[in-house]
Amino acid sequence: MTETTEMVRADNVHKSFGSLEVLKGIDLVVKPGEVCCVLGPSGSGKSTFLRCINHLEKINAGRIFVDGELVGYRERGGKLHEMGEKDVARQRQSIGMVFQRFNLFPHMTVLDNVMEAPCRVKRESKSEVRDRATALLEKVGLGAKVGNYPGQLSGGQQQRVAIARALAMRPKLMLFDEPTSALDPELVGEVLDTMKDLARDGMTMVVVTHEIGFAREVGDNLIFMDGGVVVEQGPPREVIGNPQHERTKAFLSKVL
């Protein structure tokens, strides 16, 4: 694949649920290696936008490209064709996603959770995947928990396993949907540290979060969404330190 200068490109993305229009024209560019933080009040469409990027939701208008490739559709002769299930799945393989509620597979051990997709989806050799999975779990600080079931871990540990599980597919882009919102305050730090390491290693990330400190420290770009549109965007320090828009000011005054 050709080197692109844009890992994610969203052009005028619209999304409705029935008559409810949730995204009303989102534009966004995330460059390779960048960390883009998404901020905004509840119901503003942050999760929906994130889910559109890996085609968990079908958009109604606009275009989303990941690494230069149109997501979910193929353009032929000026006409859009829906992609088949196989092709959508192939695109998702290179996009990791981490959920607010972890969504680990409770019937598999931690190691099996991490090994499942590389073994089943990519059909890589088991021993190779096991080594990589063990190394990843080691890296997120869970080398001692490989044999545990998710139900036996704390929330912070579960979320770190979820991150390792996504990384095991060697994604080129990671999406995080409020990864620390379901955690006790003292567990937030360990997950954020893992994410910071990841950013330092050069992973491209789109992070929906309410952690202003994280956005300021790690983010290269910050977008503030409200009511399905991007109200304001720019370098996190500037947006947070000196918001231009009334709605951004009001929101920041509440979360800071």
Binding site: E85, M115, A117, R120, Y149, M169
Partner: protein, 334 residues
């Protein structure tokens, strides 16, 4: 940890209190014990039950009625009927449940109509109906749809478009008819059980799996169904046990190769009624007990990662790891 920072206080004397008395419980226990003793006494001393007829010999020189050849043959038939109709019922039930939950409206409607029909039709009526279905068709086989009509269209009189066919009364009678009636009816109930199981799994599970690039089939096989099994297995155990007993319905098809039918034949021959029913009851109790034990193990298997058995296994694994043992990967070959 706290030993060296705080001065240890003397442990107070352990509490020795008089426990609360429950006289009601003892009275209840007494009554139950007396009733149980009366019942046991009746069972052992009432010679109209004729235990020797059941267990030892029912005619001169023959074994007890439970162990005579036709009854054992019937028992084999009952087991075979249970296994085959449940196997078909479960497989078809899973397929119908998946169809029912499919976004494809045609598939889900077909599944809905299927479950509607077979849940509404009584099993006994179905069994009788299937036993007599062969009057509808002369022969049953594979071939072109509307083969005879196509033949007429081209003026071919004896063309029926059949590649392979057998006489309907050979195929759809006795055992096969009874088994099909039970299996198709069972599939409808299993479909509802499986559907409930699938729907009990959090949406986030399949979302996470799909986000990893899994196909719909993989999500179902690897993530959703294994978890749904915890919900599916207990009512399926009920279904299997109910099926053991419902096989007695096919005695009316008639299927001669079945436990209850055989015991009834003996009743008719010997004019001994009650002991034969007792013998039948004992066999059904034995079969169902074995099945319940089986269910316990299946439930334990699918309870991995949840509750007590999962924790017990984890303790074993922790000990292994601490002793430098290899981590045994689980989930293989399941």
């Amino acid at each position: 940890m706290s030993d060296d920072t705080t001065t240890e206080r003397a442990r107070p004397e352990a509490i020795k209190a008089v426990p609360v008395r429950h006289p009601g419980r003892w009275v209840g226990l007494g009554i139950i014990a007396i009733l149980a003793a009366m019942f046991l006494h009746m069972l052992l001393t009432n010679d109209r039950i004729r235990w020797s007829f059941i267990f030892l010999e029912y005619q001169d020189g023959k074994r007890g009625v439970m162990f005579t050849e036709p009854v054992l043959e019937g028992l084999r038939g009952t087991i075979l009927l249970t296994i085959s109709s449940m196997a078909i019922g479960i497989l078809l039930g899973v397929v119908i449940a998946i169809m029912r939950l499919s976004p494809n409206k045609i598939l889900s409607t077909v599944a809905f109509i299927y479950t509607w029909f077979f849940r509404a039709a009584p099993r006994l009526v179905l069994a009788l109906l299937f036993g007599n279905l062969n009057i509808l068709w002369e022969r049953i086989g594979f071939g072109l749809p509307f083969g005879t009509q196509i033949g007429k269209l081209f003026g071919l009189d004896n063309f029926d478009g059949q590649f392979y066919s057998i006489k309907a009364s050979d195929l759809l009678a006795g055992f096969v008819a009874g088994m099909l009636a039970l299996a198709l009816s069972e599939a409808a109930y299993m479909a509802e059980i499986v559907r409930a199981g699938i729907q009990s799994i959090d949406q986030g599970q399949s979302e996470a799996a799909v986000a990893l690039g899994m196909s719909r089939g993989q999500v179902l096989r690897r993530v959703v169904l294994p978890q749904a099994m915890r919900v599916i297995v207990p009512p399926t155990g009920n279904e299997v046990i109910a099926m053991v007993k419902d096989t007695s319905l096919v005695a009316y098809v008639p299927v001669t190769f079945e436990l209850f039918f055989q015991l009834q034949q003996i009743q008719a021959r010997t004019f001994v009624v009650l002991p034969v029913f007792v013998a039948a009851l004992i066999w059904y109790l034995i079969l169902c007990t074995i099945l319940m034990i089986g269910q316990y193990f299946v439930e334990r298997h699918f309870g991995r990662g949840y509750g007590a058995t999962g924790k017990a296994k984890q303790r074993l694994r922790d000990i292994q790891v601490e002793q430098g043992g290899r981590i045994t990967p689980t989930g293989e070959g399941t």
